[in-house]
């Protein structure tokens, strides 16, 4: 593919498909005369300076980014003020960059500077939690693009995520109980969101190695989430004024609900593919965790949460992951099957799926030429 990309680059720089300069310039003159005429006849609009800047900002930054951008943007502007002109465009470009982009190292340097400027462990940990989320958003962005470097870029983003999680874990372990609990609550709130995003991304990655890397990140997110619950439980045990019983109960209940949801999803998957996998042990552990939580024995409930998480992971590793992909409205559903075992096993599962759903699928491998006019739904094997 590298050779092909070189040829594309050579084609891009060549004369082939390049318009004649005379035509380009001549048409530009004609076009601009027409454009200026149109504008001259329309009413001029005037804005107050601050409204103008606000309009510009909302044009450039999507709303959800504006909030996140504020703190980093301040630091970036200070940094860039020395090197560049501190322009809003370079700031935003750095904020939006992903591994492999020219400004990405600047983004990371700025995050480092933010941590150094932060006062107190809680604020530093909050930043690391935020940066961990950014690494995950980078994974999402990378995998929205079909590019040669996706594998390497995904690996860089996930490595960054894992490092942030290690740091966050250290803060939870080494801070004073009150601070540790505050950090743990932040982590707990974010961990489910991170897991869900990684789950979604995992299903859309074709490359096995990259998918494995994202699965690892999911496990790290999960473990950090459980660690956060552990810190909350332990802090309650030692100083119940910092974390109340009600807070612990709610946190543990949420975690149990998350695991239960995963088991339900796996069960649905199994019934669609008739995979003979047993989730009863995991369900039992979940039931026990719930009962212990209700009775106020939070430490034992936590042990059961850990046990059920391990059981669910073991089941998930054996199960075929079926992700449903739908193209545009004129294309029938296409199911992409991926698993960690042999292609033969994947084909057997595909045939099971046909039998269980009573639907005739066209079974093929990724990359096979396809008759796009066909209305038969397809299953694509790894």
């Amino acid at each position: 593919m590298k050779n092909l990309l070189k040829q594309f680059a050579a084609l891009s720089k060549s004369e082939l498909g390049t318009p004649k300069k005379e035509w380009v310039n001549e048409f530009r003159s004609t076009l601009m005369m027409g454009v200026k005429n149109t504008v001259a006849h329309s009413e001029p609009r005037s804005f107050a300076f601050s409204k103008n800047i606000f309009d510009l900002a909302t044009f450039i930054f999507p709303k959800e980014q504006l909030r996140l951008a504020t703190r980093t943007a301040t630091v970036l502007t200070l940094v860039l003020g020395i090197v560049f002109s501190g322009s809003i465009t370079t700031v935003s470009a750095a904020l939006n960059s992903i591994p492999g982009d020219f400004l990405y190292p600047l983004k990371l340097m700025t995050e480092g500077a933010q941590v150094r400027l932060a006062s107190g462990d809680t604020e530093k940990a909050e930043l690391h939690v935020e940066f961990a989320s950014r690494r995950i958003q980078e994974v999402v962005k990378i995998n929205e693009e079909e590019s040669l470097n996706n594998k390497a870029r995904t690996a860089v983003a996930v490595k960054g995520f894992k490092q942030e999680m290690v740091t966050v874990n250290q803060y939870m372990e080494q801070s004073e109980p009150e601070q540790a609990a505050a950090i743990a609550k932040m982590v707990d709130a974010k961990s489910v969101e991170n897991e869900q995003i990684l789950n979604t991304v995992e299903k859309t990655i074709f490359d096995t190695e990259s998918r494995g890397v994202v699965t690892e990140a999911k496990t790290v997110a999960e473990n950090t989430g459980i660690k956060a619950v552990e810190v909350i439980v332990v802090t309650h045990t030692t100083t119940s004024s910092t974390v109340t019983s009600a807070e612990v109960k709610n946190t543990v209940t949420s975690k149990i609900n998350d695991i239960e949801k995963r088991v339900e999803q796996l069960s649905e998957l199994m019934s669609a593919t008739s995979t003979p996998i047993n989730t009863s042990e995991a369900k039992t552990a979940i039931g026990e965790a719930r009962a212990l939580n209700l009775s106020g024995d939070f430490s034992s409930a936590l042990s059961k949460i850990k046990e059920s998480t391990e059981l669910v992971r073991a089941v998930a590793a054996l199960t075929v992951t079926v992700s449903l992909y739908t193209g545009n409205t004129t294309t029938p559903a296409v199911i992409i099957i991926s698993n960690s075992s042999t292609p033969t096993s994947a084909k057997v599962q595909a045939q099971s799926l046909e039998q269980n759903t009573g639907t005739l699928f066209q079974i093929q491998s990724i990359g096979d030429r396809v008759d796009e006019s066909s209305t038969t739904p397809r299953i694509i094997l790894p």
């Binding site: 040829q7 318009p19 076009l31 601009m32 149109t38 044009f59 859309t204 545009n328």
Partner: protein, 184 residues
């Protein structure tokens, strides 16, 4: 400057401030790429010039009407693409089937042979692209030659990002296979 930000600033200047100079900059940035995109689909440079001119005129008209534009590049490529489709439809009506087929660099009667002989640096690429179906050829061009993002390509082709990613994956694989076969 980040391309997306630059385009957004131009869009702001065009739609809010009605700044003609901004449209001049848009033209300077995109004219070569839009021309090339059209050129590979039509028979001649004259036709490519006509359609490219029409593209920018339509774009300005659209902006004047105050209609929202999500992505500038996708907007321009979409107009160009639709104009090429209209162009073919008109040809089908006015010419016989054989004459109407004479369209595009990669068609059977296109001038590819001459281009391959005079451009060794990318000859195998051109030959491979000729062998691909139009849908695949278009998508690899948009991705690797025009360097558009999946999101932009999705908007141009009227498909979801997921559909574009799958088609691009298949198209890239097909291109690699054809090139590898050509080397044997």
């Amino acid at each position: 400057m980040n391309k997306l930000i630059r385009d957004k600033i131009w869009l702001f200047r065009l739609s809010v401030k009605k700044d003609p100079e901004a449209f001049g900059k848009v033209y300077d940035e995109y004219v070569n790429r839009i021309y090339r995109f059209i050129y590979f689909k039509v028979s001649s440079s004259e036709e490519a010039q006509d359609i490219a001119s029409e593209t920018f005129l339509r774009a300005w008209q659209y902006i004047q009407e105050g209609k929202p534009i999500k992505q500038l590049s996708a907007f321009l490529y979409s107009i160009a693409r639709n104009l090429v489709i209209d162009h073919y439809r008109r040809r089908m009506l006015s010419l016989n089937a054989e004459e109407a087929e004479t369209a595009g660099l990669f068609s059977d009667k296109g001038d590819l042979k001459n281009k391959v002989e005079t451009n060794r640096d990318f000859s195998s690429l051109l030959i491979a692209m000729k062998k691909m179906k139009e849908e695949y050829r278009e998508i690899v061009q948009l991705k690797y030659l025009d360097e558009l993002s999946v999101g932009e390509i999705a908007e141009i082709l009227g498909k979801t990002k997921g559909a574009v990613r799958v088609t691009l994956h298949r198209a890239s694989k097909t291109l690699r296979e054809i090139c590898d076969q050509g080397k044997k």
